[in-house]
Symmetry: C2
Subunit: 223 residues, 2 copies
Amino acid sequence: MPLDPTAAIEITAFNWVPDFAKGNVRDLRVRWALEEAGLAYRARLFDAKDARPEGYLREQPFGQVPAYECGDVRMFESVAIALEIAEGSEALMPRDPMGRARARTWAIAAINSVEIAINALIDVDVFHAGEDWAKARRPQAEQEVRRRLTLLSGWLGDKDHLEDRFTVGDLLMASVLRALRHTDLVAEHENLKAYLARCEARPAFARALADHMAAFERPREAA
Amino acid sequence: MPLDPTAAIEITAFNWVPDFAKGNVRDLRVRWALEEAGLAYRARLFDAKDARPEGYLREQPFGQVPAYECGDVRMFESVAIALEIAEGSEALMPRDPMGRARARTWAIAAINSVEIAINALIDVDVFHAGEDWAKARRPQAEQEVRRRLTLLSGWLGDKDHLEDRFTVGDLLMASVLRALRHTDLVAEHENLKAYLARCEARPAFARALADHMAAFERPREAA
């Protein structure tokens, strides 16, 4: 769906971030979920360098993006928002209880069993690059990412998706794996590399990424 | 509810962990959610030092606890399981869509906006205690926990819970804050200290903690 300034759904996102963060801010996950679900939305944009607008902590208590609003429902946390969108969309969540439980499981596993290790490596490689402690820490952090990816690859095997079809769990797992683009760690596993490429080849992802990137070219007041 | 070896719900947990982990393994969150919901369950116990049983990676692809089974539904990830239990229990999740969205939001915020910083400090204080890089890293890691707790305290204000009643979001936030017991960081905020005490004073938590701790006194085959 194209961005629509009259849509009922609004998300917050940034119109400026450092170059390394472009393509990787968490509004992208929510844009992707909305595109898969076929829901129009508008985006309210901030500059990541600036203080957040007055009152924003009441929308997002940690000052981050995205926040989400649809009628009376106000949420934050990209994973919670993606799950909320998925609950209402068969494109992201099967109808049967077992399938729903598995999709929810993988949504959490993406952040809590995989991203948790990736974040430690990103801390070292990006946020504290060049600090002495980060150099000493890096081998352990990389090894832990490798260990988790090996387990994930073992689960995936020759399947196309984490379960028998694409779900919000795959959307979030692919989003998490993308943060390793500066390394060859995903490519060490042929099946993970192909899985990530398969998820990124979805038209909904391409649209979401294009709108995410376009925001960095737009003046603040635009959607 | 007492543990019941004939219950339909089974979780996995440990019957041995290092002392620092006792009272803090993630099966505790699920036990607590089950107690709040009034659901009987049984526990299948492993020794954390041993290799996992043959085939366990098909239940829990990362080899961790807890895994969860109820009829055809098989899940892993404590937060996904707690949310699944909450979806069926008004004790953990309000009935109205807005209330449900807020409970889910805080469930994710607990792990993704608060625990993420706490984990970095636990890495330094527990898993890599004494390593040179950990000593150099600690002030930053502590500062980031302090920053997030200040924001959380600001949100909480003088409320009893994160929203207008106890939900699975509070259950998970309290679970996450408990991991800071070796520090005074929570106590730096009177309202957070009282909030954590309020959550821990719930009878369901006391029962869950007692059963979690009792598992460490039991032979492996017992429930």
